[in-house]
């Protein structure tokens, strides 16, 4: 097993990884920017090394400086967390070339699955159902119109390199397709340096459901069940839960099997998430994309399966075989995660960084809070606005919602605006309670009422 791991990330996930390392008896080296000197992970780390200035480009995205820190601290492995360099196959390769283990999949698997068009091709080959549409980037307007007419409007235009809702457009006819394609390409070029877009059937009433998988270096891949992340605002997940309250056991089983199939097709190991869109009308699911890293919402899966995904990632990276088989995975109860962000949710969710003057997180049976914040901590303006992830685990969904309502009411935080009030209102909405939510509901209905 590794002796010392470098955590190439910040915020709550850095603390999350650090705690598991400590539990496993592994030393930690936390790298950080000058803006993050006061973050909790830096305070808790065995070694903390400043790698650059506040803006991520010079620090958390600075491969040279991270590798330099890794050699200085003499670490065995690097955990990339999520975001930043976590899905950068070049970084993974550089790390491995330095004889340091990258805690994640092979660079080749990341490349095969990280690009949406490539991933879709692979999924099609592996027999995993995909949304009907172009199998690769469209060459231009004419091809786009031809494909759109074949699969029927409305269609979705998506940047192949995109993510988080950027470079996405819905078109309802030829005219909006042409203008949407131009806009999406322009946006994708600006955001990702790659203008390629694909076109596919647009699912009107969709749930976002994803499968957590984990694989070892011995060819074993296991599905750890699904997370339903349909409550989104502008394609940003707000609430995640498991199990999904809208799918049947059969669909759940097929989704899991398909996710494993896709991962095996890519020679995938370590943790990954296969995202599906579930069409509420057709009651069918389609492969969306794969995230080749740990995700923000992984605690939901940990709670229902009573396991530590970060520990599993570390173990399989060290070459250990998975300690369970597919038939051992039997999720229990219902878990829900909400993201507490420093945002003014009543003012278009605008980021509200600043100093947290008072901070008491809820606690108790079935309540879990993953956070790097504390009273006196100043949320720097350079990064995302996440304060904490609040996760509850109840016997069933109603029980989990009760716990969540209590936990939110016990969250005592002063100094910055947060999304706590949003979640309190959301979870009392009968449509949320009764699972009538689609991925568009927050934008189209909830925020407009």
């Amino acid at each position: 097993m590794f002796k010392r791991i470098l955590i190439a990330n910040r915020g709550e996930i850095a603390v999350r990884i650090l705690k598991t390392c400590r539990r496993m008896g592994i030393e930690t080296c936390v790298v950080h920017s000058t803006a993050d000197k006061e973050t909790l992970a830096v305070k808790l780390a065995d070694v903390a090394i400043c790698i650059g200035p506040g803006p991520a480009k010079g620090s958390y995205l600075n491969i040279n400086n991270i590798i330099a820190a890794a050699e200085l601290a003499d670490v065995d492995a690097i955990h990339p967390g999520f975001g930043f360099l976590s899905e950068n196959s070049h970084f993974a390769q550089v790390v491995r070339d330095c004889q340091i283990e990258f805690i994640g999949p092979l660079s080749e698997s990341m490349e095969a699955l990280g690009n949406k068009a490539k991933a879709k091709t692979l999924a099609n080959k592996a027999g995993v159902p995909c949304v009907p549409g172009s199998t690769g980037p469209v060459s231009g307007q004419d091809e786009a119109i031809k494909i759109a007419r074949e699969i029927g409007y409305p269609v979705l235009i998506k940047a192949t390199a995109g993510g988080g809702g950027r470079g996405m457009r819905v078109a309802h006819n030829d005219a909006s397709l042409v203008s949407g394609l131009i806009q999406a390409q322009r946006e994708a070029e600006a955001a990702f340096g790659n203008a390629d877009c694909i076109i596919e059937a647009f699912v009107q009433r969709a749930r976002h459901i994803e499968i957590q998988i984990i694989g070892d270096k011995h060819g074993n891949v296991v599905s750890l069940g699904e997370r339903d992340c349909s409550t989104q605002r502008r394609h940003q997940k707000l609430v995640e839960e498991s199990p999904s309250p809208v799918i049947t056991p059969e669909i759940r089983k097929n989704m899991g099997a398909d996710a494993v199939k896709l991962a095996k097709a890519a020679g995938y190991y370590n943790a990954g998430t296969v995202e599906f869109i579930y069409d509420l009308e057709r009651k069918k699911y389609f492969f969306l994309e794969m995230n080749t890293r740990i995700q923000v919402e992984h605690p939901v899966t940990e709670m229902v399966n009573d396991l530590d995904l970060i520990a599993l990632m570390i173990k399989v990276a060290a070459g250990e075989p998975l300690p369970f088989k597919q038939e051992d995975i039997k999720p229990k109860g219902h878990a829900i995660e909400v993201r507490i962000n420093a945002e003014d949710w009543q003012n278009n969710f605008s980021p509200a960084p600043g100093k947290i003057s008072m901070y008491v997180a809820p606690s108790g049976k079935g309540i879990r809070v993953d956070s790097h914040c504390y009273a006196g901590y100043t949320i720097p303006p350079h990064y995302d606005s996440m304060i904490a992830k609040l996760i509850v685990h109840g016997t069933d969904r109603a029980d989990a919602l009760r716990l969540l309502e209590q936990a939110l009411s016990e969250y005592y935080l002063e100094g910055v605006k947060t999304t706590i009030g949003f979640h309190q209102r959301l979870i009392r909405d009968p449509r949320f309670v009764n699972n009538e939510v689609t991925t568009k509901w927050v934008d189209d209905v909830f925020m407009k009422q």
Binding site: T34, I51, N64, N65, I67, A68, C98
Partner: protein, 154 residues
């Protein structure tokens, strides 16, 4: 006005933790401001005395390096490490140091090496940092991180 007055005023400022002083003689106008205890004093306030020349702001050394000792030091510039690594003050174990206190430096002058990823990176002052090495803040072979102050130049 005598420069001594200025010195005395700055001493009063220092002794009393004042961050702002305004004096207007002939029929007297005085304005004093003290640092608020808790607030992160934002404005680097500049003390101005009467009609006389402006007094330099008591700049705080940004880095956790050595504490400033005299008024001159406030004007020294820092050469910091751009990367985590190991500092070498000489090109090889048998050679002399790249620089010593008093050595003149500019953006073309190698002041030390920082070994990172088996590569010895030549460190030169940023453009605009010229003058003499006033202090060497690191030891040969010392591990540094991004932002560690290596040299002071004045």
């Amino acid at each position: 006005m005598d420069i001594k007055v200025l010195k005395e005023i700055t001493k009063i400022m220092k002794d009393n933790d004042l961050i702002e002083v305004e004096v207007e003689a002939k029929d007297l106008k005085i304005k004093l401001r003290k640092a608020a205890a808790c607030a992160p004093v934002p404005a680097l306030v500049q003390a101005v005395a009467a009609a006389a020349a402006p007094v330099a702001a008591p700049a705080l050394a940004a880095a956790p390096a050595a504490p400033t000792k005299n008024a001159d030091e406030a004007n020294w510039k820092q050469i910091t490490s751009p990367i985590p690594g190991t500092v070498y003050l000489k090109p090889n174990p048998d050679a002399a140091n790249f620089v010593a206190e008093g050595t003149a430096v500019d953006a073309a002058k190698v002041v030390c090496l920082i070994e990172a990823m088996k590569v010895f990176n030549e460190i030169k002052p940023d453009a605009g940092i010229t003058g003499q090495i006033k202090r060497i803040c690191v030891k040969d072979g010392q591990a540094v991180e991004y932002g560690t102050v290596l040299f002071l130049v004045g």
